[in-house]
């Protein structure tokens, strides 16, 4: 060693070995793995004595064994790591299979396992899409050794949860992973441009939390990233490919969990809507004569399913000039008291627009509306007294025209989602059915009342007719029933006909009573028919005597002629 060029050239390490450690001879044998050198086996003697070829061969054999040992341990650790990953995955899957309406426990299991398995100190799951303005911190997990640091970190988390992080791919690692969308690996956060520029979150993570290496993996859904998993290490030790693959697996599971929960909630919502619809239909079928209960059922369900504190049903009057709040739920009493409940059709707020233009009208914030700014009383009172912010009005459409509207509002700026609006539209259709039902029911009721009156009058006439016909020829009875004034005393030109059977008294004296009755009945039936045929008026009968008035109450132009013609018919008949 002392004779080597390096020693003579004054190489510091060589000088240490020779001058301080006292080494005479040195042998270095490379550890070769697939042609690459991965290390060195070195032997030293204090005396100057070369190593023999047998020594070298032996050390080469030991070097090969050392490589084998290193490779064995690497494989063993890889298998152990994979087993640990699989155990963690199966734990997450178990959590996922148990809970369908809440992602939180799955997120917790994912973030905790990702952090532990990757040997990271801090891990977080953030949600947000490329087009969003902000990200939401959904879960965080850390293993901070220092309680003071943990306390500072808790304050940081509280702040992150209260103030959503801006989706800025330039400043934020998570936003970069979401927007690109690809895995972001940073060997040392402290060496980044973000740190140099003094980005607050980066400075905080490096300077306060002492974190250096960072890995951020996007949660890839079918339409791009929907969030990211973020891991930090306290040392500068980049995450391995195995770590990345593991976190990618966790990210895929998080996406599945989110999708599962979304589908579960969607089904729950659909069931809830179906229940509401069938409830309203049930009320409609039970409430044929009054819209009130139907309106109440509709408004109650609309309010609950659309997360709105207020729901109101507005109707347009028959002249199509005025809108009235017909029914409402959830308004503050002072608001209801302070307002007139009637608006002109040309009102500039959402309900007016929905009815005039037959379309859904949503004001995301009525304080931003033209009506509010221009000082429209209704809008100003709604905003300032009632606290209305987002308002949606859905028209009640009948034959292509609006007959009213359903209105919902929220006391914060939170626009109604399209499926909520679709639900209100189906409620609006039901309200129209209810209104139409009741209108038809009332029309039918009126018709029935009228018919009943008419039938009673007719029944009365029929009864009187029946009575009159017992005493009068039917033509006369018809005349009298139709025009009862004829029965009052009056003057008229009439002719009177007298008729009896010649020698009837003598016949009666000799005939049996039954024979007399039979003759009289036959005689009166035949004469009665003739009298009716000739349109004669009242006749009076006593025994075989008949007196007939011609010309009253049935008017005649020639009563005497009619009487003569009747007399001739009677004689001919006899």
């Amino acid at each position: 060693m002392a004779a080597s060029d390096l020693y003579r050239a004054g190489d510091p390490m060589r000088r240490v070995h020779v001058d301080l450690d006292g080494i005479g001879s040195f042998l270095s044998v490379p550890l070769l793995k697939g042609g690459d050198c991965i290390g060195v086996l070195g032997l030293a003697r204090f005396e100057q004595q070369d190593f023999s070829p047998e020594d070298i061969a032996l050390v080469e054999a030991f070097a090969a064994q050392a490589v084998m040992a290193i490779e064995n341990v690497r494989q063993y650790r890889e298998v152990q790591e994979r087993l640990a990953h699989e155990r963690a995955m199966s734990k997450v899957l178990t959590v996922m299979s148990q809970l369908t309406d809440d992602e939180a426990p799955v997120f917790e299991a994912i973030v905790r396992n990702a952090r532990t398995l990757c040997g990271a100190e801090m891990a977080a799951l953030l949600l947000g899409r490329a087009g969003d303005t902000h990200m939401r911190l959904a879960e965080i997990n850390d293993a901070l050794p220092d309680p003071a640091m943990a306390e500072a970190h808790a304050a940081f988390i509280a702040q992150a949860q209260a103030n959503p992080m801006v989706m800025d791919p330039v400043d934020s690692v998570a936003a970069e992973a979401i927007c690109t969308p690809r895995v972001v690996q940073i060997a040392d956060l402290k060496a980044t441009d973000r740190y140099a520029r003094g980005v607050h979150a980066t400075r905080y993570i490096v300077d306060v939390m002492g974190q250096r290496s960072t890995l951020c993996v996007p949660l890839l859904g079918p339409d791009g990233a929907i969030g990211a998993i973020n891991l930090h290490r306290r040392t500068v030790s980049p995450f391995s490919e195995i770590d990345v693959a593991l976190v990618e697996n966790f990210a895929a599971q998080a996406v599945i969990a989110i999708e599962n929960v979304r589908q579960f909630r969607e089904i729950q919502e659909r069931l809830e809507r179906e229940r509401a619809t069938s409830e309203v239909l049930d009320v409609i079928s039970r409430s044929r004569s009054d819209e009130g209960p139907v309106f109440e059922a509709i408004l109650e369900n609309a309010r609950a399913l659309c997360d709105a504190p207020f729901a109101g049903l507005y109707l347009l009057d028959a002249d199509r000039s005025e809108i009235t709040l017909a029914s409402s739920l959830g308004a503050r009493s002072e608001y209801l008291r302070s307002n007139t409940r009637t608006w002109p059709l040309d009102d500039p707020a959402s309900v007016g627009i929905a009815i005039r233009e037959c379309r859904v009208a949503q004001a995301e914030d009525i304080r931003d509306s033209e009506a509010y700014r221009s000082g429209n009383t209704q809008s100003v009172e709604a905003a300032d007294v009632e606290g209305v912010r987002t308002f949606v009005a859905v028209p009640l459409l009948l034959d292509g025209r609006a007959i009213g509207a359903i209105g919902l509002y929220r006391r914060e700026v939170a626009p109604f989602r399209s499926e909520q609006i679709a639900l209100v539209q189906s409620f609006a259709a039901q309200a129209v059915i209810a209104i139409e039902n009741v209108r038809q029911f009332r029309a039918l009721e009126t018709l029935n009342t009228e018919l009943e009156g008419r039938v009673q009058t007719q029944v009365g006439e029929l009864e009187r007719m029946g009575r009159l016909k017992r005493f009068l020829p039917s033509a006369v009875a018809d005349q009298v029933v139709g025009d009862e004034a004829r029965l009052q005393s009056h003057r008229a030109l009439i002719a009177v006909l007298f008729c009896d059977i010649r020698g009837f008294t003598a016949f009666c004296e000799t005939a049996e009573p039954e024979e007399t009755i039979e003759v009289l009945q036959t005689y009166h039936a035949a004469m009665g028919a003739l009298i009716a045929e000739h349109g004669a008026g009242v006749d009076h009968r006593m025994g075989d005597g008949i007196m007939v008035l011609m010309g009253d109450p049935i008017p005649s132009d020639d009563p005497a002629g009619d009487a003569a013609r009747l007399a001739l018919s009677m004689r001919a008949r006899m």
Binding site: G42, L43, L58
Partner: protein, 87 residues
């Protein structure tokens, strides 16, 4: 030059290393210790050390030694660049 090592001693050493490797699946350190012990003994070299290249392949780190711990070259302390001049 040292005398040739008896074949049975060499074979026994290599066998011992293999047995240690089997027994210590999760850790290279005991295997390294056995290798260095035999290398030192069989090659009559009081100092025997093992250095490994880092993951980036840029630096050697002195990771195991046997017998005479050199007073000025300690495990863990010593690392040197691969492209540097020293051995």
């Amino acid at each position: 030059m040292t005398a040739p090592q008896p074949q049975d001693a060499t074979a026994a050493a290599l066998r011992d290393v293999l047995e240690t490797m089997t027994a210590s699946r999760a850790d290279e350190a005991p295997v390294f210790a056995v290798i260095l012990k035999y290398a030192s003994r069989l090659c009559a070299a009081p100092f025997c050390g093992l250095s490994l290249l880092n993951a980036a392949g840029t630096e050697l780190a002195y990771s195991a030694s046997h017998v005479a711990e050199l007073p000025h070259s300690k495990v863990g302390d010593m690392r040197w660049a691969v492209d540097g001049p020293s051995t």
